[in-house]
């Protein structure tokens, strides 16, 4: 959540959150920036149902205590630059520029509703709280913060008439795709338990050792109604719904089991790379979770790598350095995935404790015809080796591509030429 300096007229004294006045002012600033940065501004208006009725039974200030707990719970779901405000007695508003579509806004709202499924405790009593949420999204011409807030509030009122625990929009684009995303989000927790989510491995071939010396662990979802769901669809849903943490833990536990199989088969010097989303990496409990899994699932001394995406580098760099250094202290390698597609400037390679660069497949296509790209490619390889960073080239699909990459001194390649993603037993048979 965004850290803000507030004047006393802008603060809610109970929660120390910004109040309605501040939200309207900040909305107008965000709306004017929407035109420049082309980001969608979304407002979620949340009203909790009948908190005051608890006072009659349990004491006069129960609703205040619950409001403070609710503010903490909702704040824990927000991105760093989202704004949470208390805009009425039992009303909160969230202003976000991190929701890139109506679909992600609705999934996020659903996540808030789901978070309220857990009871709240004001000792010795346990309370269940329901809420209604109205959502409004900025259009290109909208610049009135008050109007956006009122639209969301009015939408929320319509929702309340229909019943509790509902969400509604000011408008919808594609109800069928939205319905599918919501269904996937609802099914994801059970899919993590019942085996619908499973893992495959793509081998990494070392030219130097002339064998596979590692593999990337990839998650898959076989949904009973929709069939094979692409990770490009379900990973963002997992990120938006809070399920990415449990999915990552499952992947780490899977890797520990596979290391045990490798040991039993006598396969030495083999690494497994697990993808770590920036949402997971920046979560406050991530390092504790990794320490827990590492020490309780025999991952100490194993060649485990975390793959982070280039987009992770848009996070606060000081925080990121600290987190990655803690990971390196646990002897876990850091691989920077899809290198060369956007964010990673050269300074990051010196600042961050990266052990491996995974050069994006787009560098490999038509490399033999493009001399400028060849020069760039050679520079990436030389620079990495000078910084003692290993290089893996992704997306190698043909013998010609493989031959060229080898000439540049790249000793490890990952791609369909050597290995498609496969079940672990198949990979293990290849290694024996």
């Amino acid at each position: 959540m965004e850290k803000i300096s507030l004047q006393t007229t802008q603060i809610d004294s109970l929660t120390n959150l910004p109040n309605r006045t501040y939200v309207i002012e900040s909305l107008e600033k965000k709306l004017s920036s929407t035109k420049e940065n082309k980001k969608l501004t979304t407002l979620l208006f949340i009203e909790f149902d009948d908190l005051a009725r608890f006072n009659e039974t349990f004491g006069f200030d129960i609703d205040d205590k619950l409001i403070v707990q609710l503010s903490h719970k909702i704040a824990s779901l927000l991105e760093i630059d989202d704004i949470l405000a208390r805009v009425g007695n039992e009303q909160f508003a969230i202003v976000s520029q991190n929701l890139h579509s109506e679909e992600s806004a609705e999934i996020f709202a659903k996540r808030i509703i789901t978070a309220l499924y857990e009871p709240f405790f004001v000792d010795p009593n346990m309370f269940y709280i329901s809420a209604s949420i109205g959502i409004s999204l900025s259009s290109a011409n909208e610049n009135n913060g008050y109007r956006l807030l009122k639209t969301a509030e009015n939408t929320m009122r319509k929702v309340q008439k229909d019943g509790k625990n509902h969400i509604a929009f000011t408008r919808h684009k594609d109800p069928s795709s939205l319905k599918k995303s919501i269904r996937l989000m609802e099914d994801l927790p059970a899919a993590l338990e019942n085996g619908e989510i499973y893992f495959v491995y793509q081998g990494q071939y070392s030219h130097d050792k002339q064998r596979f010396d590692g593999a990337e662990l990839l998650s898959r979802w076989q949904h009973p109604k929709y069939g094979e769901i692409s990770p490009e669809i379900f990973i963002p849903i997992a990120e938006q719904s809070g399920m990415i943490g449990p999915l990552t833990i499952k992947a780490l536990i899977e890797s520990s089991k596979m290391f045990a199989h490798l040991d039993a088969a006598g396969v030495k010097d083999f690494s497994i790379s697990v993808n770590i989303s920036s949402v997971v990496l920046m979560a406050s409990d991530f390092i504790d979770t990794v320490q827990f899994v590492r020490s309780n699932y025999n991952l100490v001394g194993k060649k485990l790598n975390f793959e982070i995406m280039e987009e992770t580098l848009t996070q606060n760099i000081d925080n990121l350095v600290q987190i990655l250094e803690k990971i390196r202290k646990m002897d876990i390698g850091i691989e920077l995935d899809d290198y060369g597609t956007g964010y990673a400037s050269l300074k990051y390679l010196a600042l961050l404790p990266i052990t491996t660069l995974k050069v994006d497949k787009s560098y490999v296509r038509d490399l033999e015809k493009d001399t400028k790209r060849q020069a760039l490619f050679q520079a990436i390889v030389d620079m990495s080796h000078a910084l003692d960073i290993e290089v893996i080239v992704e997306g190698v699909e043909t013998v010609l591509e493989d031959d060229i990459v080898k000439k540049f001194g790249c000793i490890t390649v990952q791609g369909y030429l050597y290995s498609k993603p496969m079940k672990f037993n198949t990979l293990l048979n290849t290694l024996k």
């Binding site: 499924y117 857990e118 009871p119 449990p246 409990d285 504790d288 827990f292 309780n296």
Partner: protein, 123 residues
């Protein structure tokens, strides 16, 4: 001081994960916490007949019945046992809240699960 907990779930890796988190908590608190495990209603009831439990964490959907039956049986044996339900959708079981002291939401994460267990055991 030592405590005894019964965890009930039909999925082995969840039981294994819960046990490891409780073991880690036990070390952090320097407190012996004994964990018994059951995969179904029948085994859970057999455990309840044999032992006194300070706390239980019970999955609601089990292959041979409902975790609610385990909670009822545990309550009949001892009012002191603190019982939590472990479920993906706690809200669905609101009507059964008289049988449970808390609802833990699946999937579990180590940090929050430890906090939940501490609250359940009052430690």
């Amino acid at each position: 001081m030592s405590k005894r907990i019964l965890i009930v779930d039909d999925i082995d890796f969840i039981i294994e994960f819960e046990e490891k988190v409780i073991d880690a908590l036990s070390k952090e608190l320097s407190m012996k916490i004994l964990v018994d495990k059951a995969n179904n209603v029948k085994d859970a009831l057999a455990n309840i007949a044999k032992h006194h439990y300070d706390a239980m964490v019970i999955d609601i959907n089990l292959p041979d019945g409902s975790g609610i039956d385990i909670a009822k049986s545990a309550q009949e044996k001892s009012k002191d046992t603190r019982i939590a339900a472990l479920t993906i959708y706690p809200q669905q079981y609101e009507e059964q809240k008289n049988y449970f002291d808390a609802f833990f939401k699946k999937p579990i994460l180590p940090t929050s699960y430890k906090q939940h267990i501490r609250k359940l055991l009052h430690v």
